[in-house]
């Protein structure tokens, strides 16, 4: 039935266009034999109409731009950055956007205004004006100056982001990507990450840490990325299978993870999750999102489906490089907390050396209660120290 209807609609559409063509033909039969083609060449009337439409189109572009700015103008990528370098990035972004908006407004105006103002007219002849070295020099040199400024500023920020002082005290974290999830590894007490390769992946050792490396014993695995506020973090990134990209929009941070290679990104988180949740902009945005979700939940309820959970702000890590069928849902939570909270959390975590040993030889340490680590499980702490001693 639907098929038949579609055929009918398509057929009707065809007839409509055909009729349209015919009407256009009939209205244009005033030309001399041999000159009929003139009906398909723009006349003064066409020039007029299209000239005015050009002017109208200019208005359309401006109105659309303004509408978009008003409606969706609060962009988390432009304000409330959560990292120290983010402020510089945002400043550069605002300056660049300013330049872009200015040039866009002026040039679009000139283009469409000229199209309107000089619309063709039989009585007029165009001005023969083919060259002007001075003008061309001006509009070569102005972009040169503006762009030099942007390039220099950009490179200064870029170098600040990409390099760090090796002497500085930093926190090392491994960000590990795989289809379709993230794992994080901390250096533990010594803040040194053990060596790793995918060939060592086995059981609980999901990121392939080389357990023969002494530095690896106290490594800590996590499913969430927890970071202390105000401390420089060097994120060492690896991938297990295909390219992924670790994208932290709130922190103005992104780096691809590449199988067979370690990439890195350095940042200093500057706002804790708790603080960010209280920012006015964020509160507004969260409310807006929850309104949308409530509306959607009502629709779902009518269909008898489960309602959506209310949204609370959290920093997220997204995958931003096409990586397979569930690319759209490869995410992890990022938590920024005070250094004290972070330290105590890290201390409570089980050490990888112990976890692997437990998994391999449960009978070797019968007195210890074995707990299988899953992302959401709270870890039993006391046993850690005991096993660490056993290993020593």
């Amino acid at each position: 039935m639907t098929g038949l209807l579609t055929i009918v609609i398509v057929a009707l559409l065809g007839i409509a266009i055909w009729q349209l063509t015919k009407i256009f033909d009939l209205t244009q039969s005033k030309y001399q034999p041999g000159q009929e083609y003139l009906s398909e060449v723009a006349t003064d009337k066409d020039n007029n109409i299209n000239g005015y439409l050009m002017f109208g189109f200019l208005a359309f572009i401006y109105i659309l731009t303004i509408y978009c700015c008003v409606k969706w103008g609060y962009m988390p990528l432009l304000s409330d950055s959560a990292s120290e370098h983010g402020k510089d990035v945002d400043t550069l972004m605002w300056i660049t956007l300013g330049v872009i908006f200015f040039v866009q407004t002026v040039t679009q105006f000139l283009l469409h205004y000229f199209a309107f103002a000089y619309r063709g007219n039989k009585g007029r002849k165009a001005v023969f004006y083919a060259d002007n070295d001075k003008l061309e020099f001006i509009w070569t040199i102005i972009p040169v100056i503006v762009l030099s400024g942007l390039i220099l500023y950009g490179l200064w920020v870029w170098n600040g982001i990409m390099n760090y002082d090796e002497e500085e005290e930093v926190l090392y974290v491994e960000v590990y990507a795989k289809q379709f999830g993230w794992d994080f590894r901390y250096g533990g007490d010594d803040n040194v990450l053990g060596k790793a390769n995918v060939r060592f992946i086995e059981g609980i050792n999901v990121v392939g840490v080389d357990m023969s490396d002494p530095n690896a014993q106290d490594d800590v695995m996590s499913k969430e990325l927890r970071l202390p506020v105000g401390k420089k973090v060097v994120m060492k990134m690896r991938s297990q299978d295909v390219l992924h990209s670790a994208y932290f929009p709130h922190f103005r941070a992104q780096m691809n993870t590449v199988p067979g290679m370690v990439t890195q990104f350095i940042m200093t988180p500057s706002v804790t999750t708790a603080e960010m949740r209280e920012r006015e902009n964020i509160v507004d945005k969260v409310n807006k999102i929850n309104d949308v979700r409530q509306k959607r939940s009502k629709e779902l309820a009518l269909k008898g489906e489960e309602a959506l959970a209310p949204y609370a702000f959290d920093y997220v890590l997204l995958c931003n490089k096409i990586c397979g069928r569930s690319h759209y849902n490869m995410q992890a939570k990022v938590i920024v907390e005070t250094p004290e909270e972070f330290e105590s959390w890290l201390k409570e975590q089980p050490r990888l050396g112990k976890q692997v040993a437990d998994e391999k030889a449960p009978e070797a340490a019968p007195e210890v209660e074995i707990e299988v680590l899953t992302p959401d499980t709270e870890i039993v702490v006391d046993s850690t120290a005991i096993v660490a001693q056993i290993i020593k």
């Binding site: 109409i49 972009p143 390219l243 067979g260």
Partner: protein, 599 residues
């Protein structure tokens, strides 16, 4: 030059003794005008397929995971069980849409068509330097189209790794089903495509350098020819690199080498690859991939320069500056590929270098934009459809080009890389702009190609709806990009932080649906006018260039008798001292008259 030209004249006389059959005239034709039409019609068909694909995934992203009849019809129960699009098929559609539009429509369909049509006609040549290679080039293109389309019917699905086919995703079938047979067909199709592109480009370069008629010096060539010439050279420089990348990828996929792969653990086991690097592939890919966007946009620039000048009845402003900026853009385009890789893990110092070279491109681009605008100033604008599309081209080229300043800056790219901001940027600056260039070319040279006029009013409706919808789609898209939404997501519902952007996606899809459906008007106009359009005269737009001195009916060898001689540059519109507002290139200079924009 004269020797070759002479030979061709001879061939031409000789040809008349042969009786042309349907096959030699319409199928295996060596005539450049017929080959141009073949490229155009194939390009239009591929364009329809590519655009329909984009509508399908736009519907999915606006109303995620809902069931649509149209999915069942077009994709079948395998790819859209119960009318819900499968998530890997979403990626497949995105991939094939990109591939088809970039290569098959905007490279072959645009420069293939207009290089073939205009190079001999505007230069005063009987045909291309090698008609046979030209024919071969089309038929290899045709085969590559067939292979690409056949990959849509493979059981595991077509290639799904994005049009950039980064390994390991494109190399390991365990990573995504489309990397099985679908990817193999993609690679074979592209290898053939590159072969045909090289054949065509070499032919264009040789023809332009050797077969210009008497008086047609390089500085008297129309800007279309300059643009097509530079395009062909850029193609020859960069396409072979993609071919080698494709061959190495085939080796990795099928013969166990490790050029691009290393340390991969997938589906529970470690693969044998060791020592390769996906970043190497990215370098090789973008060494073509970036110049590729200029292969797409340069012909459009050439076409619109010509169309704007002819319809403004005014010389193009800064002819020499236009050529210089073409050359500058072409040169720079080969040393900026790294701006696609700021966050790929390559050395940050390289990032600085590529930022510098990339932002340099803005300078010749700005010169071009200002020259276009100045050409309109104090003109006598004839608002033919081709002119509207050319003005539209300048508008979208500026709007899209400006955001390139953000993406080309390594610092800012960190945050908007691979978001919808990028999608909006390149669709405006190379997608829509090049498409407008193509439409401008079609409307302008249709009388030359088919001997008939296209309907004017249908053309106007086509332009205005397309123009409104193009901005309606891509302007709001910048804003979802700025909100941090990554591209190539099957649905945005997995992240509540994007929930307030749902309405943007719906608006975009609406504009896309309306805009695309009005292309039917164009298709109608295009095919209907071929048979029922008003008969075209020799020079309907009163233009100066040589192609309008050929007879309306196509003949082998283009001009009956002698090839006309050229005496002046191609932009003598509204020249003082002449009664008509155009002086054809074949008109001899008067005594004391200066050539080339001076008077």
């Amino acid at each position: 030059m004269s020797a070759l030209g002479h030979d061709l004249t001879h061939d031409h006389a000789h040809d008349h003794h042969h009786k042309e059959t349907f096959i030699t005239k319409y199928i295996f034709s060596t005539d450049h005008k017929m080959i141009a039409k073949q490229f155009l019609i194939t390009g239009v068909i591929m364009g329809v397929i590519g655009i329909v694909m984009s509508l399908l995934f736009r519907i999915q992203i606006a109303w995620p995971e809902e069931s649509f009849r149209i999915f069942s019809w077009l994709l079948g129960d395998e790819f859209a069980p119960g009318g819900v699009m499968r998530n890997d098929i979403y990626l497949a559609l995105v991939t094939i849409h990109g591939t088809i539009m970039v290569f098959f429509v905007l490279t072959a369909g645009l420069s293939g068509t207009f290089s073939n049509l205009l190079i001999p006609l505007q230069l005063g040549a009987r045909d291309m330097a090698s008609g046979f290679i030209n024919m071969l080039s089309y038929w290899i293109f045709f085969i590559s189209c067939v292979i690409m389309l056949s990959s849509l019917f493979v059981e595991s699905g077509p290639a799904s790794a994005g049009w950039t086919i980064y390994p390991p995703l494109s190399a390991v079938p365990e990573a995504i089903p489309g990397s099985g047979t679908g990817m193999t067909l993609w690679l074979i199709s592209m290898a053939l495509f590159i072969a045909q592109s090289l054949m065509g480009s070499l032919n264009y370069v040789v023809t332009i350098l050797n077969l210009r008629t008497k008086g047609m010096t390089m500085t008297r060539m129309p800007l279309t020819i300059w643009a097509l010439f530079v395009t062909a050279i850029v193609g020859i420089v960069s396409f072979p690199v993609l071919l080698s990348a494709a061959l190495l990828l085939i080796m990795d996929r099928s013969f166990g080498t490790s050029f691009f792969l290393s340390d991969i653990y997938i589906a529970g086991e470690v693969l044998h690859y060791q020592g390769g690097s996906p970043v190497l592939f990215e370098h090789l890919f973008w060494f073509l991939g970036h110049p590729e966007v200029y292969l797409v946009i340069l012909p459009a620039m050439g076409i619109t320069s010509e169309v704007i000048s002819a319809n403004a009845r005014k010389p193009i402003f800064g002819y020499r500056a236009m050529i210089t900026s073409l050359l500058a853009i072409a040169f720079l385009s080969t040393i900026v590929w790294g701006h696609h890789m700021f966050v790929s893990g390559m050395n940050p110092f390289l990032g600085s270098v590529f930022t510098f070279t990339t932002l340099l491109i803005a300078i010749p681009s700005a010169v071009k934009a200002f020259n276009y605008i100045t050409t309109l100033w104090k003109g006598n604008l004839q608002m033919n459809t081709s002119m509207l599309f050319s003005i539209g081209f300048v508008s979208t080229f500026i709007a899209g080009g400006l955001t390139g300043i953000i993406l080309g800056d390594s610092t800012l790219d960190i945050n908007v890389h691979d978001t919808y901001f990028v999608v909006a940027h390149f669709h405006l600056v190379m997608g829509i702009s090049a498409l407008y260039g193509m439409f401008a070319g079609i409307y302008h040279w249709y009388p030359k190609m088919f001997g008939r006029m296209m309907n004017k009013n249908l053309g106007y409706i086509h332009f205005w709806v397309t123009a409104v919808c193009a901005y309606g789609v891509f302007l709001p898209m910048h804003f979802i990009g700025m909100a941090g939404l990554p591209r190539r997501y099957y649905t945005n519902s997995a992240f509540p932080m994007f929930d307030d952007m749902v309405d943007v996606n719906i608006i975009i899809t609406m504009f896309a649906l309306v805009g695309a459906s009005f292309q039917i008007l164009f298709l109608w106009n295009f095919f209907y006018s071929m048979f029922y359009g008003k008969k075209a005269p020799q020079n309907p737009w009163r233009a100066t260039t040589l192609e309008w001195t050929t007879p309306v009916e196509h003949i082998h060898g283009n001009w009956p008798g002698e090839i006309p001689e050229v005496h002046r540059w191609p932009y003598d519109y509204s020249k003082p001292g002449y009664e008509e507002d155009f002086v054809p290139q074949t008109t001899p200079l008067r005594e004391g008259e200066k050539d080339g924009g001076h008077h």
